[in-house]
Every structure is written in structure tokens, then in C-alpha cells.
């Protein structure tokens, strides 16, 4: 079964729906979801005049069934921007119906029309369904490890 969805940019009106889906993804990944203060920052950072990220919802009629967030990074070697996919999520009960593929195609179009040379993202090493999904789309795992330093007063 395939679901027909429309992909729409998050607005002030749809922000609460979006924030709930961010929480659902964090829970799926066993990571800490945004708290009330973080939700407020998330809204300002995404909807200000110079947004720090772009967010889009996939709508099945009046029900939001998935979302994607991304921003533009930069490759100094290519000297081109990269579309960096931060989150892509489809509600568990709406999987395997083409919604993820629809959101992903939307990102590919945004990337090439914005002059990007690449799309990049990270996958949790244990998330086998996600890895299968990406490899079916023709994505390649590149041989880089991700390192991180967390601000000392924040939970790691």
C-alpha cells in the first residue's frame, strides 16, 4: 500500500505537531527529547528570519505522518554547500508506504536546486531498518567516524 502525502514547511501553526514528532523520534532512538525550554528554542531557531534549520511535515490529509529537518553545511574541497539531513522520521504505523521515500526525494530536490554537491547524514549503527532504507536509495557509507565534545554542563 502506498500513501499519498504532501510535504509542507513547518509554520507557527503546525509547530506543535512538528515538536511532538521530534519527541517521538528521540524516543525511538533512545535519546533525550527536547524539554519545554528546548521546544521554545526549537521554535525560534526554526522560524526566525535567519532560521538555523528547515523543517517539513508530511501530511496524510490532516494527519502529520512524518517529518524531515536539514540545514546547509559546506565542503571546502568541493567548494559547494552540502544538504545535511538532521532528522527523517515516519510514524511507525505509517512505515513501508513510501512516506520516507517521499521525504527523502524532497530533500534530494532541495539539495540539487540549492546548488549542493552532496547530501549527508548520520545513522545510528544499530538502526538496521534505516540503513537498509538508505542503501536501497543508492546512498553509500563513507569511511568516517563521528567525534563529539559536549559542553561540560550538558548531559552527554
Amino acid at each position: 500500500m502506498s500513501l499519498s502525502v504532501s510535504v509542507e514547511r513547518v509554520t507557527r501553526e503546525t509547530f506543535p505537531v512538528f515538536a511532538d514528532l521530534v519527541t517521538a523520534l528521540a524516543e525511538y532512538e533512545n535519546l533525550a527529547p527536547p524539554d519545554a525550554e528546548a521546544r521554545h528554542r526549537l521554535e525560534e531557531d526554526g522560524l526566525s528570519d535567519l532560521p538555523r534549520y528547515e523543517a517539513y511535515l508530511a501530511w496524510e490529509g490532516t494527519k502529520a505522518v512524518g517529518y524531515v529537518t536539514f540545514f546547509f553545511t559546506y565542503s571546502t574541497f568541493l567548494a559547494l554547500p552540502t544538504l545535511y539531513l538532521e532528522d527523517i522520521f515516519v510514524r511507525p504505523e505509517r512505515r513501508r508506504m513510501g512516506v520516507g521515500r517521499e521525504l527523502f526525494s524532497f530533500c534530494i530536490n532541495r539539495a540539487w536546486e540549492s546548488g549542493c554537491g552532496r547530501i549527508e547524514w548520520q545513522v545510528l549503527e544499530w538502526n538496521v531498518p534505516a540503513i537498509r532504507f538508505y542503501e536501497a536509495l543508492g546512498a553509500e557509507r563513507i569511511g568516517w567516524s563521528v567525534y563529539r565534545i559536549v559542553r561540560p554542563d550538558l548531559p552527554s
Copy 2:
């Protein structure tokens, strides 16, 4: 032996020195360096009013011995920006003299003063000297793999 360096933002005047170091890093990593057209884009993208990345050189007197580039990404779960380190490079003959550490400290300061919650970067899995350097600084490898799709007309 420890080297005293000053870290200065790249300007129109120092751009050619910076671009040569980007080429040196690409060669060290066995990756394609920017060609003439890419150097031109690199200059515009880094020095425009809304730069796509920030670049800094480490100077030992009048000789540039290293550089760093970064930009700000975003964590939707933290709802805070992340300083994302794209390149950090020290000329081979100037290694083990504290230059990398100086450049890295500079980035940490920029991150926390810009309100970031994290610093993140990627390391080539075979680059053991770099991995040792980062682990000595207290960085942790997180369990994420990097995936990529390259624009079809570009070399992968």
C-alpha cells in the same frame, strides 16, 4: 618544543595562503583538492556577507602553519547549535608543537561563546594520529555512521 602562534580570521589578503593549505590537507587525505573554479567559489563562500563557513589561519610570525574551518549546524534534540569542525590541519613539519591544540582550543571557545551545545567532526577511520590527538583532548567517538549521496554529475 612548543610554537607560539596567533589565530587570525582569513581575509581577502590571506585567502591565497589559506587555499594552498586546503590543497595540502586534501592531498594528505588522498582526496581531490579544489581546482581553480572551486578556489574562486571557496573565496566567495567564505568571505561574503553571509559566509557559508568560517576560516582561521595559525600564524608563526609571517608563516601560516595551519588552519581550521567550521560552520554552525543544529541539534533538534538539544535545540542548540553545534560547532561543526570541517577541517583542521597543521603543516607536517610543524606538528607536535601545540599548533593543533591551539586551533582546537580556539574552536572550543568559539563554540561555547556562540551558545553551542556540542562540537562535532568526522575523522577518516585510517587516520590514527588524528584519532589519538582527538581522544587526548577528551573527545568521544559516537556510534553513528556517515552516509552520503553525491550529485550525479560530480566525481564521487
